[in-house]
């Protein structure tokens, strides 16, 4: 039995060694994607294109405009002369944010009253809009506070109300600078592994079916289980290699600190790979041609990615979708990899995820083996 599995394994690596494009597909895309994700995937908002309309033309209004311009969050792309120009700039996507200082702005401030500031935001990308608006609020709030303190001093507290406020003392644990790269890089490792290994596994088996070698092998005394193990084991090793490479890029290129124990991550990765191989195997049982496999992969992997909590919080999903996330292996692996990376926790904390991942992996693998045996008839 072991002899035959080993032979299958050797054959698989021999084929891989000979297939230059497969080796390329194995190494280069994950690294390129890792770099892309590392640089491009970020929630932070900088340099929001901003158009200004100052209808007040006072020292105060200019000071406010300055405080926007001097923050790295906003970039002044145009100064408008009237409201129509503001609208035109936002409509043509030249600017994403319009700030209008209405006439009488300074007058109200000098009287110690609240002064309105209009902010027009292009809400097409709701996420960016919300974040930009938050920054605008912070800047105008700070401006108001400084102005009020100043005014109070100048007028001997006759104007400018005494300030009562709650001041937040923020401490962000595990990611003190809220660097979203720290959040994304570990997630990308999981996602890339899922996509690459499911693809490789599904394609490798479907190819044998397509070429006719699968049937040829099955008329030999080899058992379906032996075939499956011999056929998936190479991709298990390739998966481990892939995780190592991508993790190395994350640690040494992007300098994302690894706080935890590498062995814990390795163990979690092994459990995750079992699920991943099973999914690849399942897809291969549903498909007769590589083209079908390609379509199915897209159909299955995309939802898994979206429901994994990679970037969209599971807690905000509708209840029904939240239930589905419980069978998404990526969900558990992301928790494991992020926790080992950033929090540095061990199995004592992560065992529920590990156990679920193991159950899910062996369950899926069992179903895959049953389906595979059936698909041969």
């Amino acid at each position: 039995m072991f002899q035959r599995i080993i032979q299958l394994l050797l054959k698989e690596f021999l084929q891989l060694r000979r297939d230059r494009s497969a080796r390329f597909r194995l190494l280069i895309p994950p690294i390129v994607q890792m770099l892309l994700f590392g640089y491009a995937a970020t929630f932070e908002v900088f340099n929001v294109a901003t158009v200004m309309l100052d209808q007040d033309h006072t020292q105060e209004s200019r000071a406010l405009v300055d405080s926007f311009v001097h923050s790295s969050r906003f970039e002044l792309v145009a100064v408008a002369d009237d409201r129509r120009q503001v609208q035109a700039a936002v409509e043509s996507s030249k600017a994403q944010l319009g700030i209008v200082v209405p006439p009488g702005f300074a007058e109200l401030l000098r009287k110690g009253q609240s002064a309105p500031l209009q902010v027009l935001v292009d809400g097409t990308n709701s996420n960016t809009a919300l974040i930009a608006l938050g920054y605008a609020g912070q800047i105008s709030g700070a401006f108001g506070q400084t102005y009020a303190q100043d005014l109070a001093q100048r007028t001997g507290r006759a104007l400018g109300r005494p300030l009562v406020s709650v001041k937040l003392e923020e401490r962000y644990w595990y990611n003190p600078n809220l660097n979203s790269r720290w959040f994304f890089v570990p997630g990308v490792i999981g996602t890339l592994t899922l996509i690459t290994i499911v693809n490789l596994t599904a394609f490798a088996i479907v190819r044998e079916r397509e070429v006719g070698t699968l049937e040829q092998i099955l008329v030999t005394p080899i058992r379906p289980v032996e075939f499956i193990i011999g056929k998936t084991l190479p991709f298990f090793f390739i998966g481990l290699l892939e995780v190592s490479i991508v993790t190395a890029v994350g640690m040494w290129w992007f300098r994302v600190p690894f706080e935890g124990n590498l062995l814990v991550l390795l163990f979690g990765t092994c459990l995750f790979l079992i699920s991943v191989l099973a999914i690849g195997l399942l897809i291969s049982t549903l498909c007769k041609t590589q083209q079908q496999a390609f379509a199915s992969n897209f159909f299955i992997l995309n939802p898994m990615f979206i429901l994994s909590g990679f970037s969209f919080p599971i807690a905000t999903m509708p209840q029904a979708l939240q239930w589905i996330t419980y069978v998404d292996p990526l969900r558990y692996f992301l928790i494991i990899i992020r926790a080992t990376y950033l929090k540095g926790v061990g199995i004592d904390i992560l065992w529920p995820q590990m156990a679920t991942l193991a159950a899910l992996g062996f369950g899926l693998f069992g179903v895959a083996i049953l389906r595979f045996s059936k698909s041969l008839d």
Binding site: R4, Q7, G212, T213, E215, V219, T220, P221
Partner: protein, 315 residues
Amino acid sequence: MSACAAVAIEVDGLEKRFGALTAVAGLSFSVRPGEIFGLVGPDGAGKTTAMRMLASVMRPDAGRIVIDGIDVLASPEQAKSHISYMPQRFGLYEDLTVDENIRFYADLFDVPARVWQARAEKLLAAADMTPFRRRLAGQLSGGMKQKLGLACSLVHTPKVLLLDEPTTGVDPLSRREFWQILYSLRSEGVAMLISTAYLDEAERCDRIAMLNAGTMMYCDTPAALKERMPGAMLEIITPDPRAAHDAVRGLPGVRGVLMVGTGIHVHVDSGERRTQIAAALTAAGIGIESLEEVAPSIEDLFLALLEQDGAGEGG
């Protein structure tokens, strides 16, 4: 192990249905060691389905298959080590070399290295492929691929060889070498079951079974089957076979007409019809280069027997 089984393959009441379609119905036959047994019949007659059930990649709905004393349905894994199945397109790994392909199949059958190396050398020499051992299978010609497939399926010295139209699309030279290998296996006592669309190949078999719509119509030696054909076969060589075909069809005593290359084969109820047919052709202005009574080919026979059954006379 039944070292001296008198029967290598025994099939009894084999049946397979796909929904409403009965692909194989009540198929029974047996093959002796060293015998080449042919399955002939039109497409869809159930040849491939029968082969796949024997190779235990498909389960029959009813019936029994015993190969070398082993019940295939009860212990398929055990039976598989004695069987070799070679389909129309043998599943080769095109990115592996000739040697690596053979080695892979040898390993799947747990053949010790020394044994398979000697065997591969012999098989490749017989297939005239020794110079190509290090070539990738994907770079071989169609005929060579099939010969390599045969070598892969023989590397574990099977007792039963199942060949499903193995020479379809193979060049004549490779086909001849292919058959030479099959003949040499007779002395090893390998029982061979071969389905073929080439009737000249069917004539090379020791016995043939004619399948139609999933049932076996006839099973005998090619010579005996020919004797069963009632009437006689006339071969007429003519410059215009199509016109001759149309002129002869429908004449009294003519049971069937088949166009064959340079002329026609006319199946008649008696050889004495020849003068009558010659006269009819001359009357229609069709030239006759020769008109002779010939031994029927398997193809003639097959059509004649089908016709006879179609006429409701029964076999």
